[in-house]
């Protein structure tokens, strides 16, 4: 399973990428998309919504199951990847390209507390 070194992760299978403008992009991992199967529906949070850490804020549904996506850290939603609503399968094809939403973290330091690639790999073995 592909787990890029340059990203941070959660035990609930989100990936987090720090962008140069201080925001973070969030998606679901290769492991998550593989376990869910082919995705057919994506529900994204409203831009401007303020999220607490671990708050359920998006939904991905595959041919077999629905799954919540959690905010890896607290912050405000500044952008969503609306193109995914028409093409949820992009998440299966490019799990690390198909970001779901971007957050402006309330406290950028919390990013360091997320799992690194090695720790995430261990979390599902």
């Amino acid at each position: 399973m592909n787990v890029p070194e340059n990203l941070k992760y959660t035990a609930s299978h989100e990936w987090v990428r720090a962008e140069t403008d201080g925001t973070v992009s969030i998606g679901i991992t290769d492991h998550a998309q593989d376990a869910l199967g082919e995705l057919v529906y994506v529900e994204l949070p409203e831009v401007g919504r303020k999220l607490g850490g671990d708050e359920a804020c998006a939904v991905v549904e595959s041919v077999k199951a629905a799954s919540d996506v959690y905010a890896p850290l607290a912050g405000e939603v500044v952008a969503t990847n609306k193109a995914l609503a028409e093409a949820p399968g992009e998440i299966n094809k490019h799990p690390y390209g198909a970001w779901l939403f971007r957050l402006k973290p309330s406290d950028p330091a919390t990013l360091a507390g997320l799992l690194d690639a090695a720790a995430y790999r261990k979390s599902f073995k």
């Binding site: 082919e38 529906y41 529900e43 041919v63 399968g89």
Partner: protein
């Protein structure tokens, strides 16, 4: 875990394997949506060897099946003819659904679901009480080849099957050497179901694959049958439901004097619920089993739902109180919210065409 004779072929093809009623079966070989389209547009094949063929033999076979099945085997006059039927308990509840083939006088072949096979054998054995012999044919493998190009590709892969199967009308079968070929299936497309000795299965599978028949898993099988408006046993029906409540009234023959198990219960029943289809009208998620459905005529529930690759919308089979009619709007509870759906009469898709 139980395995069909094709397990090595599935593993080599990179199948994602899942536990289905104790059988390790392919869910898909990469993309169940692509597999679905392959069956609607070309040809796909399914390993259905987990299902059980039961030969019903003896001079009393016809009389026995006439009593054991809700549909009338008396309609099977020509050898090779197939019949869909439910098998009911005394309360009219559905023990299983099956296809029975009339092979020749004194020999019928029923094909039953994998999850219910042991229960069915025990039930039928007790009911027969020696009046007919039951022979489970676990040594037979089964491959369903389905799609608009299924028959042509089967003949190009297995030319020896052509003479016996070329003239087969839908819902008829014939023996071709060691293979029984039937023009039946569970997808809403044309095609064949092939029963053959287990030892031949891998070679047949490979020749079909070389002829352009795409291996398909249980994932595509489920979305195809749902689009075709066909019930899945254990999901859209079970022992708590009668055929009158799940869209199978056409398969029950109540008019004649024939006595069959469950008939008295059905004759006494005034059904309060029926089976209809739903199409989700908004992008709000995916319809799935057990979701509640609300509307003018009361509350019902989704019995199976999915995302339809052909309609590009979520569809479902639902058990609803009487009173709902196709075209009506209804609301489905989806992850705590309500979403609008349209009531339709299944099937959703037949022979590649959208019907709703």
């Amino acid at each position: 875990m139980l395995h069909t004779p094709l397990i090595d072929a599935h593993r080599k093809a990179g199948a994602k394997l899942v536990d289905f009623a104790g059988w390790e079966m392919p869910l898909h070989y990469g993309s169940q949506i692509d597999e679905h389209h392959a069956v609607r547009r070309g040809a796909g094949m399914f390993d259905t060897s987990h299902m059980l063929a039961i030969d019903v033999e003896g001079t009393g076979a016809r009389a026995f099946l006439s009593r054991a099945l809700a549909n009338d085997v008396g309609r099977l006059a020509q050898p090779g003819r197939a019949l869909y039927s439910c098998m009911l308990n005394e309360r009219g509840g559905i023990l299983d659904d099956l296809i029975v083939y009339f092979l020749r006088e004194g020999l019928f072949r029923a094909v039953v679901n994998a999850a219910t096979a042991a229960k069915d054998l025990a039930w039928l054995g007790a009911l027969a009480a020696g009046a007919a012999q039951l022979r489970p044919r676990r040594e037979l493998a089964m491959i369903a080849v389905q799609g608009p190009q299924a028959r042509e590709r089967t003949w190009s892969a297995l030319p020896a099957l052509r003479p016996a199967s070329e003239g087969l009308a839908p819902f008829c079968g014939a023996q071709a050497g060691d293979t029984f070929v039937a023009r039946t299936g569970y997808t809403g497309e044309d095609g064949f179901e092939l029963l053959m000795p287990a030892i031949s299965a891998t070679a047949v599978w490979q020749r079909l694959a070389q002829a352009g028949v795409r291996p398909c898993g249980l994932g595509a099988r489920d979305t195809l049958r749902l689009e075709a408006g066909m019930n899945l046993y254990g999901q859209d029906m079970d022992e708590s439901v009668t055929p009158l409540e799940c869209g199978l009234v056409w398969s029950v023959e109540l008019a004649s004097a024939r006595e069959f198990v469950g008939k008295a219960a059905l004759a006494a029943q005034t059904p309060a619920r029926t089976r209809l289809g739903l199409v989700l009208e908004e992008r709000a998620g995916v319809l799935r089993a057990h979701q509640a459905v609300h509307g003018a005529h009361g509350t019902g529930e989704v019995t199976s739902g999915t995302f339809s690759p052909t309609l590009q919308a979520s569809i479902a089979l639902a058990r609803l109180p009487l009173g709902y009619a196709p075209g009506e709007r209804i609301e489905v509870e989806l992850r705590g919210k309500r979403a609008a759906a349209r009531v339709v009469r299944p099937p959703f898709v037949r022979h590649g065409k959208i019907l709703v």
